[in-house]
Amino acid sequence: MRFMLLFSRQGKLRLQKWYMATAEREKKKMVRELMQIVLARKPKMCSFLEWRDLKIVYKRYASLYFCCAIEEQDNELITLEVIHRFVELLDKYFGSVCELDIIFNFEKAYFILDEFLMGGEIQDTSKKSVLKAIEQSDLLQEEDESPRSVLEEMGLA
């Protein structure tokens, strides 16, 4: 996968993950162009299209468009399911995920994506293991954050 974008119907970019090195200006241009093309598609059209030398796979979930760019030889249908799996993970984590969750917890969305995809390739396809890994890191957070009193630190309470 070359990159993944999440954007709303109003053209607001909610998440962008790039798996290949691109200049910032070029990224902005590509995002603008692609958003225009995808938002112009009608509901019954197919989920794939050709753009530049890449294939675009996109799917709309509620108010968000999930859009992936893959290479010529990659498998389109399995990419659709990569998107679906990502949505499932977000859903499980946030509990009935909606766009607001992704806006206010954008860093968490990135962390979940990173557990699932790395370098553009899918890491682990077992939903259970990915969720477990995310839970574990959250637990680490808990440990970090819970304030300990001086006595606790010294082991006297």
């Binding site: 019954k44 389109e76 399911e81 509990g95 990135y110 890491q123």
Partner: protein
């Protein structure tokens, strides 16, 4: 609410995001952002050392601002500092920041690499994963230099945890993509192949991805992976659902891993070992069989996953191109999908069939679906699906169906989307030329192209039709008659005027006998379009006029009057003026013999690679475009090319030599002076150093 609390949530960040969302205008948003940036800047510069939580919060805010689309030019130092924190969340935010805002400052890079090195060596799997992720996300050359040799070691070490193995494999994959020369092959490659046997399917998946990329670089090193891949695939495909548990996706067994294994196998030709080959064939047959079974679930995820594996299997069958039964079965399966309810499947079936069409085993099978594809062209609502249908028609075209396919493509062209017209024009032109038995059909087709989509008929196309007409005696009369009739239309495209002007100039004499197309009628017809045309076309028409003077002395006076008119002799455009002046002069002073020699019929063109094909290849990039068969019949009707193309012209004094313009594969049918001397001067001189062609101008 989530099962696990989301940690501290960074309240300040949430408030900030709310503020931004509540901004009523872009200016308000920028104002709020600048306020925050100033605040963060002062906090970073401040005397008080910030605690980890605050640093994390501010770095996160900066990240948010950046992702909104604003430029951030500070904060990197603080982010790098976070990397050395022992707290996981602080590290995490630090890594996220530097992965998103990549900085090429070499001091920073050194610090970052140091932090990564520490985390890699920490033996803490969570920290190691963070570090590996960062390397994979950034993938810069400096990181590759620092870590490319370390990561294979981590990957194959016995005590590495599964999750770290996965990360290491994919990290290595990314490094290999960006800096392949820095990833050395070594004895670790054999152990990576061995990972395909690992118990943990996540590790197998990651290893398969890695091997697929590496095998493209050095296929021999990974040959042993083939048999392991086939075995593993076979086990998955024949397994019952409960075997794979976590890796079953909507009742499909390990679809991602299956697809990856099939991709890996596409890096190699069919296995040489007969037992292995038959095992693979069995596997592929099972996948094809499963497609015929009733679905285990109504959900689209189930069918997508199942079909993803099916399509990848078909890709492998096409790649091997060695088992006729499999190829035909694949073709039939795709044929079924051509009529499926789901648009996605129809799209993919059309796409896959394109590749099938070029295999000799399945070409005939593909042709049986022609009617369905033509129907798709007419009825599909989605333009991208129609485009795939055009591609498939182009791929399946051969001598038996060329006339029908070209006719269908022409009728589609009438209503096609503007963005795809040029490509269709190029394809029709290529097919018409390649499969023309009767060249009158070819001429008709190209003229139709100009009529339907004149704006999208590029130069290469109409140059080509002229070249072919010049080279084939048998079609010249027909061409003259047809363009003459076509030009009668009240509104004809400028490209038609160009083609018509050139052909009538060369071959108008063939139809001049008929009173309806007498020389005067021809001239008036062309001249009626003159003022509607652009400068290059007018230049071409002027050349046609001088040719008429040579061919038809009876209209010499009429044409001279036109040339003599002020609008020509004093034309604002230099080229037109020059031509008018010189042609007029030529017509006055040259004797009939000399005029006839100067304006002799154009000699045939030499064979060259079709520029149309080159243009189509450039447009489509890497797509498979069939080549014009070079061994086909000679472009000339009579089989000899009477062209003198060397630098030594043999007849000197009475011929006019002109320089060929630099344009590849074609020339401007007109004069181009080597110097600004007049025509009469060139008459008797030869300027050495140019390639000369005897030209009629």
């Amino acid at each position: 609410m989530p099962a696990v609390s989301k940690g501290d949530g960074m309240r300040g960040l949430a408030v900030f995001i709310s503020d931004i969302r509540n901004c009523k205008s872009k200016e308000a948003e920028i104002k709020r952002i600048n306020k925050e940036l100033a605040n963060i800047r002062s906090k970073f510069k401040g005397d008080k050392a910030l605690d980890g939580y605050s640093k994390k919060k501010y770095v996160c805010k900066l990240l948010f601002i950046f992702l909104l689309g604003h430029d951030i030019d500070f904060g990197h130092m603080e982010a790098v500092n976070l990397l050395s924190s022992n707290k996981y969340t602080e590290k995490q935010i630090g890594y996220l920041f530097i992965s998103v805002l990549v900085n090429s400052n070499s001091d920073l890079i050194r610090l970052i690499n140091n932090a990564i090195k520490n985390d890699l060596g920490s033996r803490n799997p969570t920290f190691m994963n963070l570090a590996l992720h960062c390397i994979a996300n950034v993938g810069s050359r400096e990181m590759a230099e620092a870590f490319a040799s370390e990561i294979p070691r981590i990957l194959v070490a016995g005590d590495t945890m599964d999750s770290v193995k996965q990360s290491a494999a994919l990290c290595l994959l990314r490094l290999n993509r960006t800096s392949p020369d820095l990833v050395p092959m070594g004895e670790w490659t054999a152990r990576v192949v061995h990972l395909l046997n690992d118990q943990h399917l996540g590790v197998v998946t990651a290893a398969t991805s890695l091997i697929t990329t590496l095998a493209q670089k050095s296929p021999d090193d990974f040959k042993t992976a083939i048999s392991l891949a086939v075995t593993r695939l076979s086990r998955i495909v024949t397994s019952a659902c409960i075997d794979l548990q976590d890796y079953t996706y909507y009742f499909v067994a390990a679809p991602w891993l299956s697809v990856k294994l099939l991709r890996l196998l596409q890096c190699y030709p069919p296995p040489e070992d007969a037992a292995l080959r038959s095992r693979l064939t069995e596997c592929l047959e099972t996948i094809l069989n499963k497609a015929q079974e009733p679905p285990k679930s109504k959900k689209v995820q189930h069918s997508n996953a199942k079909n993803a594996v099916l399509f990848e299997a078909i890709s492998l069958i096409i790649h091997h191109d060695s088992e006729p039964t499999l190829l035909v079965r694949a073709c039939n399966q795709l044929g079924q999908f051509l009529q499926h309810r789901e648009t996605n499947l129809r799209y993919l079936a059309l796409e896959s069939m394109c590749t099938l069409a070029s295999s000799e085993f399945s070409h005939e099978a593909v042709k049986t679906h022609m009617e369905t594809v033509i129907n798709a062209l007419k009825t599909e609502r989605d333009v991208s699906v129609r485009q795939r249908a055009v591609d498939l028609l182009y791929a399946m075209c051969d001598r038996s169906n060329s006339k029908q396919i070209v006719a269908e493509m022409l009728s589609y062209l009438e209503t096609a989307d503007y963005s795809i017209r040029e490509e269709i024009v190029l394809k029709v032109a290529i097919l018409a030329e390649k499969y023309a038995v009767d060249y009158t059909w070819y001429v008709d087709t190209i003229l139709n192209l100009i009529r339907i989509a004149g704006d999208y008929v590029s130069e290469e196309v109409w140059y080509r039709v002229i070249q072919i007409v010049i080279n084939r005696d048998d079609v010249q009369g027909y061409a003259a008659k047809t363009v003459f009739e076509a030009l009668q239309a009240p509104a004809c495209h400028e490209n038609l005027v160009k083609v018509g002007g050139y052909i009538l100039g060369e071959f108008g004499n063939l139809i001049a006998g008929d009173s309806r197309s007498s020389p005067l009628v021809q001239f008036n017809l062309l001249h009626s379009k003159f003022h509607l045309c652009s400068v290059p076309t007018r230049a071409l028409l002027l050349s046609a006029y001088i040719k008429f003077i040579n061919l038809f002395p009876e209209v010499k006076g009429t044409i001279q009057d036109v040339l003599r008119s002020d609008s020509q002799l004093r034309n604002a455009d230099v080229e037109l003026q020059q031509r008018a002046v010189e042609y007029l002069r030529l017509s006055c002073i040259a004797s009939t013999d000399i005029l006839a020699t100067v304006l002799e019929e154009m000699p045939p063109f030499p064979e060259r690679e079709s520029s149309i094909l080159a243009k189509l290849k450039k447009k489509k990039g890497s797509m498979n475009v069939p080549d014009i068969d070079d061994s086909k019949k000679n472009m000339n009707g009579n089989g000899n090319v009477e062209h003198n193309n060397n630098n030594e012209p043999n007849e000197v004094t009475t011929k006019v030599y002109v320089r060929i313009t630099a344009k590849q594969n074609c020339f401007e049918p007109g004069f181009k002076h080597c110097q600004s001397r007049g025509l009469a001067h060139i008459f008797s001189k030869i300027v050495p150093g140019f390639t000369y062609v005897k030209l009629k101008c």
